[in-house]
């Protein structure tokens, strides 16, 4: 096969290929179109970040700096209170708040006031911490 025949063969190969491309079925074409749309959607998603208004960038930077300053100030104040570790102190507060006993104490506040009054009126008298007797008098 000489060069002319070889070129003819290559042209024929390309023509057959292009013919097969031109006669693709509708389902395949729809699949290709959908694939292209997905790829273009990817471009849209990627560029969405960069399409923010120009003024939003310094605003974001200022917000980040402000948040860092506030966090630093709060941390500095917590750190500057000597002797009371924040976590421990906070834990004790939470224990007080969550304790059921203390809620009971507030419910029996009238009894404790009466008991105190009794002690002030007769300092020598023995005192009891029982709830039952006191509540009956209240």
């Amino acid at each position: 096969m000489n060069d002319a025949n070889e070129n003819l063969m290559l042209e024929k190969a390309r023509a057959a290929f292009l013919e097969s491309v031109a006669t693709l079925d509708a389902g395949t074409l729809a699949g290709l179109r959908a694939a292209r749309e997905r790829a273009l959607e990817e471009v849209r998603t990627q560029t969405a970040f960069w399409r923010r208004p120009a003024w939003s960038l310094p605003l974001s930077a200022a917000a980040i700096v402000l948040a860092a300053v506030v966090a630093g100030v709060v941390w500095w104040n917590l750190d500057s209170q000597p002797g009371v570790p924040f976590a421990t102190n906070n834990g004790e507060d939470m224990a007080i708040v969550l304790s059921n006993d203390n809620l009971d104490m507030y419910a029996d506040m009238d009894f404790y006031r009466w008991l105190q009054a009794q002690q002030q009126q007769s300092p020598g008298a023995p005192t009891t911490q029982t709830d039952s007797g006191g509540n009956n008098n209240g």
Partner: protein
């Protein structure tokens, strides 16, 4: 900035719309399966959009075909492993992986097929069978350089090799195809 985004999207749309059908057929010739070919083209489109949309447009064709060839090779490797596993357990190869029947693929040399369309389809079947017999790199070089029409430099970029290698692969491919197609097409 918004204008640039719209330009990029529109340009990419034009490029992909222009190349998608040929890319699909190239993938189909290599993979012999339309579903796998569509998956490979879709992956190539997505990767191009995700990674290289901002690159100059003249770089898109070799990049796109490089990704596509990579996807095709991945698919062929997966298929080879799957076939090995299936044969190890005594399974049958899938019908889609069977080599084409040369008798069925051969054109009717007596000229009984009416119409140019049928003749073209038969010619394509012969070409597919001949391409299938080529080594992978020779087939890639022939499809990208002759069927897709990339120049030597872009073909080299698409294949990830030197221009000299492209010429070597292409020369060997044409030589082999001359042997197998010559008797039908000369």
């Amino acid at each position: 900035m918004l204008g640039g985004f719209l330009d990029t999207r529109a340009s990419l749309n034009v490029f992909l719309a222009g190349v998608e059908r040929r890319a699909f057929r190239i993938a189909q010739l290599a993979l012999r399966n339309p579903d796998d070919a569509l998956d490979a083209v879709q992956d190539a489109m997505l990767q191009l959009a995700k990674r290289y949309a901002q690159r100059p447009e003249n770089e898109w064709p070799p990049l796109f075909y490089r990704i596509l060839q990579s996807r095709i090779r991945d698919c062929q490797r997966r298929r080879a492993v799957r076939n090995r596993v299936l044969s190890f357990f005594g399974g049958q190869r899938e019908a889609e992986d069977d080599p084409p029947d040369p008798i069925e693929a051969a054109p009717d040399l007596a000229g009984r097929e009416p119409g140019e369309e049928v003749a073209q389809a038969a010619a394509m079947q012969v070409l597919e069978t001949a391409l299938d017999a080529l080594p992978g790199r020779q087939r890639e070089a022939f499809m990208l350089r002759i069927l897709e029409g990339l120049d030597v430099a872009d073909t080299a970029r698409s294949m990830g090799c030197s221009e000299g290698s492209v010429k070597t692969h292409l020369s060997r491919a044409v030589h082999s195809l001359r042997q197998s197609l010559g008797e039908h097409w000369s």
